[in-house]
Subunit: 494 residues, 2 copies
């Protein structure tokens, strides 16, 4: 209960309720496999169960926690379940959760160095660690004196900052001053994440000035198609200013050829942003680092520890090779934010590295994760996840009723029944309705394709084996009475 005079929760009660919430989370993880992965809630169900208006008087904390069990839990799709194979993962871990808790406890704003020096310096430092761990080009490290890293809310936020920095660099600040002019052109592949299209729209560039470059049979951007299109646009009097290459696309983890694209961008003086939102994490392991080949030609790079590195959302690591370009595009300094440290030029003020002014202490959780697992612990899990996905792909290939849509480069397997979209949709719906696993889909070469991504913190071999057993059983039921293997293509895989 609260203090009767001030309504505050006493520190004694905070300890007690805090321990209860920690225990609630531990209990949740202990039983998470018993819960249906995809929520079975119906639209409006939760709202109908909640009081229509706010409480006039305070309520005991126990009542809230009981409502979490009774009302909230049935409406949760369990992203932290080891049987969650949908989308890309958004994995968390105990040290990350405790880092987030501590950050909430401090409750500091990191907009300026002065408003909590540790918030800024730990972030800069840990992002240098990350650059070392992934063996990123030296220009992305703060030690280079030119570039450095910052935590963004998401790869979407990073993409928007990259687009705006590129826009201002190519126009010498003219768009910030006078507005956009409809002449700037950006380039992505047909497989690039929708967040770049969104960024291009928000930044006033316009979708008609976003070119979707063709991909090869592995769904990687074709550099010669990019080059051709740039030439065409230049001839039309337009100004190419931004290319996004993706290292691990959302549909199929296709890897764009960063070096070939980077060479074009260098020659053409175009900002190259590389989006490694999920797959970038693989570069923790030397044997996967070839996916970053050519990254020294990029102006900016982003990947999300909140996807595949056990750090709960939000934690996108965004690196730039030339911080001045970013800061010049985003800086604002009203009188009420002026201070001696900023004027000295000796510190970083991260408000100038992002869209928003306010920011919380997000590096704590990343610091905790890296220190808890160590490089070897993180490498262990990346290797384990990739091996599990590759094993799953082997099982798919060995079953003639199924086909791989493309050979999986890392931890995402794209596959389908050789039986047309309708049957595959039914397969997906049946599996997700079972509650025993959760998959999502995409469309590759025009065909409905199931995606199984292995990247959850606690996913082990037994979960992937169980998923495959459920998939086969569901296929058995669906194909009963049909001649198996009679429908669909049998083309060799790229």
């Amino acid at each position: 209960m609260h203090n009767e005079r001030t309504y505050h929760m006493s520190l004694e009660d905070f300890r007690r309720h805090g321990h209860a919430v920690v225990d609630w989370i531990a209990d949740y993880y202990a039983r998470i496999e018993s819960l249906p992965v995809l929520s079975r809630a119906k639209p409006g169900e939760l709202r109908a169960a909640l009081p229509p208006g706010p409480p006039p008087h305070g309520e005991p904390f126990e009542a809230m926690l009981a409502d979490v069990d009774r009302l909230i839990l049935p409406g949760i799709t369990h992203w932290q379940s080891p049987n969650f194979f949908a989308f890309f993962p958004a994995n968390a871990s105990p040290p990350a959760i405790l880092g987030e808790l501590l950050s909430a406890g401090f409750g500091v704003q990191g907009m300026l160095w002065a408003t909590s020096p540790a918030c800024t310096e730990l972030e800069t430092h840990v992002l240098d660690w990350v650059a070392q761990m992934l063996d990123l080009p030296s220009a992305f490290r703060s030690a280079s004196g030119l570039g450095g890293g910052v935590i963004q809310d998401s790869a979407s936020g990073a993409a928007l900052c990259a687009v705006v920095a590129a826009r201002e660099r190519v126009t010498g600040g003219a768009v910030n001053a006078k507005g956009a002019n409809g002449k700037l052109v950006a380039y992505v592949s047909t497989q690039t994440h929708s967040s770049v299209e969104k960024a291009v729209k928000i930044a006033g560039i316009g979708k008609e000035n976003l070119r979707l470059i063709d991909v090869d049979e592995r769904f990687s951007m074709r550099p010669e198609a990019l080059s051709d299109r740039i030439n065409e646009d230049r001839k039309a009097g337009l100004v190419p200013f931004f290319v996004c290459a993706t290292v691990g696309t959302t549909s199929s983890t296709a890897i764009d050829p960063v070096r070939a694209i980077g060479e074009i961008c260098q020659k053409e003086k175009i900002w190259l942003h590389v989006d490694g939102a999920m797959a970038g994490t693989a570069a923790l392991c030397p044997e996967f680092r070839s996916l970053h080949d050519g990254l020294e030609l990029a102006d900016s790079y982003a990947f999300n520890p909140h996807k595949w590195m056990f750090t709960n959302f939000d934690c996108d690591c965004f690196f730039v090779a030339d911080k001045k370009a970013l800061i010049t595009a985003l800086t604002i300094l009203p009188e009420y934010l002026r201070n001696q440290a900023t004027e000295s030029g000796a510190v970083i003020d991260y408000r100038d590295w992002q869209v928003s002014l306010g920011r919380r202490f997000r590096s704590l959780k990343l610091w905790f994760v890296i220190r808890h697992y160590g490089i070897e612990g993180l490498q262990y899990h990346v290797r384990q996840h990739v091996a599990l996905a590759q094993g799953f792909a082997g099982w798919v290939e060995a079953d003639r009723r199924f086909e791989l849509a493309v050979r999986p480069p890392l931890n995402l397997v794209c596959f389908r029944l050789r039986a047309g979209d309708e049957v595959n949709q039914k397969l997906l719906d049946d599996l997700n309705a079972s509650g025993e696993l959760y998959l999502t889909h995409t469309r590759l070469s025009g065909k409905l394709t199931l995606r199984l991504c292995v990247g959850q913190t606690t996913t082990e071999r037994r979960h992937v084996e169980q998923a495959w057993a459920r998939i086969r059983e569901a296929a058995d039921r669906l194909l009963a009475g049909r001649t198996t293997g009679s429908v669909g293509t049998d083309t060799p895989l790229p």
Copy 2:
């Protein structure tokens, strides 16, 4: 320690360490008044104390928590100290911290309704509660069927969404399609927060197309100056599309006349965004609701429970009267996000209400805060903070060496010594160096002005009294040997 096979922290260890972090936070709050409010760290100090590279092997959690004490704490500016009077508050509270913890534990993504129905529905519902609590116009409630609320990361993010929605409404989607054209014009006052200028730049409108409208003697926007400027711009062939009125400016909590501005916007068909980032919370109390007079004429409204409503950052409540205008401007639907619930049209997918795709379960903490305090508890603190600030203003007025820069409408007092900028700067620096309180400054009517904002969760009368005692003592030392009251103006207050 971690599991030797998988490197994970066991659930038993998570309980143990989790309890320790909760206790650490409770202990921190218990001793927070003994710590210097403004960090005394020097640039680079923390980084020099951290290992240059990431750890190859995992470390015990106890070592991390010890480093938080040893390395992080000296670099913290204590935003949760009751002696923090700087900027605007970013107050947190035990129930909010526990809501954030639970959100991290769930680790769900709320980008789509289907990816956790409870995450979306609780947010819609609690924002309807908030609309009731502040008595916001009915169009802003989801029950209206037209509008509704969403949690944004910050008032900056909300302003950007409002600018983009306004931009697309006035051009019928043409900027999203073809890019900006340099013809659109936005209007703010000279006192509007810098985030709107930043949004206007990011959105490709250009700073030269942002009009800074003159203010009156209370620093409120002059509606007739707005009207004149709109007419002038129309005559020049430009397209006025966006006005931001502020309810409680950052410099001085000036209240723009929303009704008069709204009537102009209605007539001119211009999007009106109202920014009540801090002061909006005051509308919890009927006696302060006049600050929202005319809000039914606004298209969008934002205020931050993470400033003055005990909910840790980030939690900006953003309301729109016509959600279609917002969604149309921001929607993206790639194949991999398609799902039955979305296609049915029966649900909200909040990814279309914000810049980023990903989003965490932020309504949990707001729900906990509202339920813990109840309406009466929140009202109690707003009234208390306003009364303390008004009391402080009275003390300032009673001391002839000081002057108020403007009569404080709510909980922010802007004041100065009648002794010129240099002495006031010295006063500010001396006070902040003492570690006993933290104030920031602004510039009003060209003069350096100290700001004292009362809004911290645990600030009581004794803290404000102590602040005033310290300020007077510092003034005594600074003015020793000078004839008090001999410098500066003595003009009557507005």
